[in-house]
């Protein structure tokens, strides 16, 4: 189990470094997905399987897809279309994330064959304990998180809606946008 931690940690650091140094945001997001999957594997190894699943579903699934949506909406500003096509034809851009992902896949199969973390390594904390703590002593925190998510939802809707006709313009919307 220790080997799995070291390999996943190295993969996470390499993928994160590649993610923050790319020019093209899509390539960076590809590396960031690999990095988040590696961190999820670290969570699984050190005994937090439920958190590992949440990391894959929410971070690698929802948040990265949100980033991808915005990059796609802004396509002509962030990524020049011709540049994107040229990169797609060159296999070098996706070989790196694919290789790191294959390392993670091999490690994942190795862990599955070896057995659950509760048997070979540390004692895993079950989702049941987590739920009892969340809705017991941390109930106020859960309510505050719900309030925060509602505020985020309303704020994102307000900022992202199309401009209404007859609406007063903001002060910053002056000569630059024309």
């Amino acid at each position: 189990m220790e080997v799995a931690f070291y390999i996943a940690g190295i993969v996470a650091v390499i993928a994160t470094f590649m993610a923050i140094t790319r020019r093209n945001p899509v390539h960076a997001l590809l590396y960031l997905v690999v990095s988040l999957l590696a961190v999820a594997l670290v969570f699984y190894v050190i005994g937090a399987p439920f958190i590992a699943a949440l990391e894959v579903i929410i971070y690698a699934g929802a948040i990265i897809v949100l980033f991808l949506f915005v990059v796609m909406i802004l396509g002509n500003v962030v990524v020049r279309p011709a540049e994107l096509d040229r990169h797609l034809q060159r296999p070098l851009t996706y070989v790196g994330p694919a290789a790191l992902g294959l390392v993670l896949l091999g490690e994942f199969i190795y862990i599955l064959v070896r057995g659950a973390p509760g048997q070979t390594g540390p004692v895993a904390i079950s989702p049941q304990e987590l739920g009892e703590a969340l809705f017991g002593p941390y109930l106020v925190g859960v309510e505050l998180a719900a309030l925060l998510l509602l505020a985020g939802l309303v704020g994102a809707y307000y900022l992202g809606r199309p401009k209404q006709p007859g609406e007063p313009e903001g002060e910053t919307d002056g000569d630059r946008s024309a």
Binding site: I51, Y59, I125, R176
Partner: protein, 102 residues
Amino acid sequence: MATVPLELALLLAGVLFALGLAGVLLRRNIIFVLLSIEIMLNAAGLAFIVAGARWQQVDGQVMFLFILSMAAAEVAVGLALVLQMVHRFGTVDSDVVSRMRG
């Protein structure tokens, strides 16, 4: 947690956080800045999980859940602000927005 040394796991969290901080400081593309903030939040969550696993307490995972919901709300508002910024200034360069007019 008995098999993995605590120091190494915290070192991993620290290195990931430093990479995210470097991304925030060095990149000017606003999308990369948001992405680096996500990396830093994730590294902080990793530190919480490591500490929770070391002492076999569930509180670390509770804190990770709070960080996760905060990151989700933050990225939604942040990306909506990026859309507004591109709409008004036509660029994702964060330096352009810092200029004052008046």
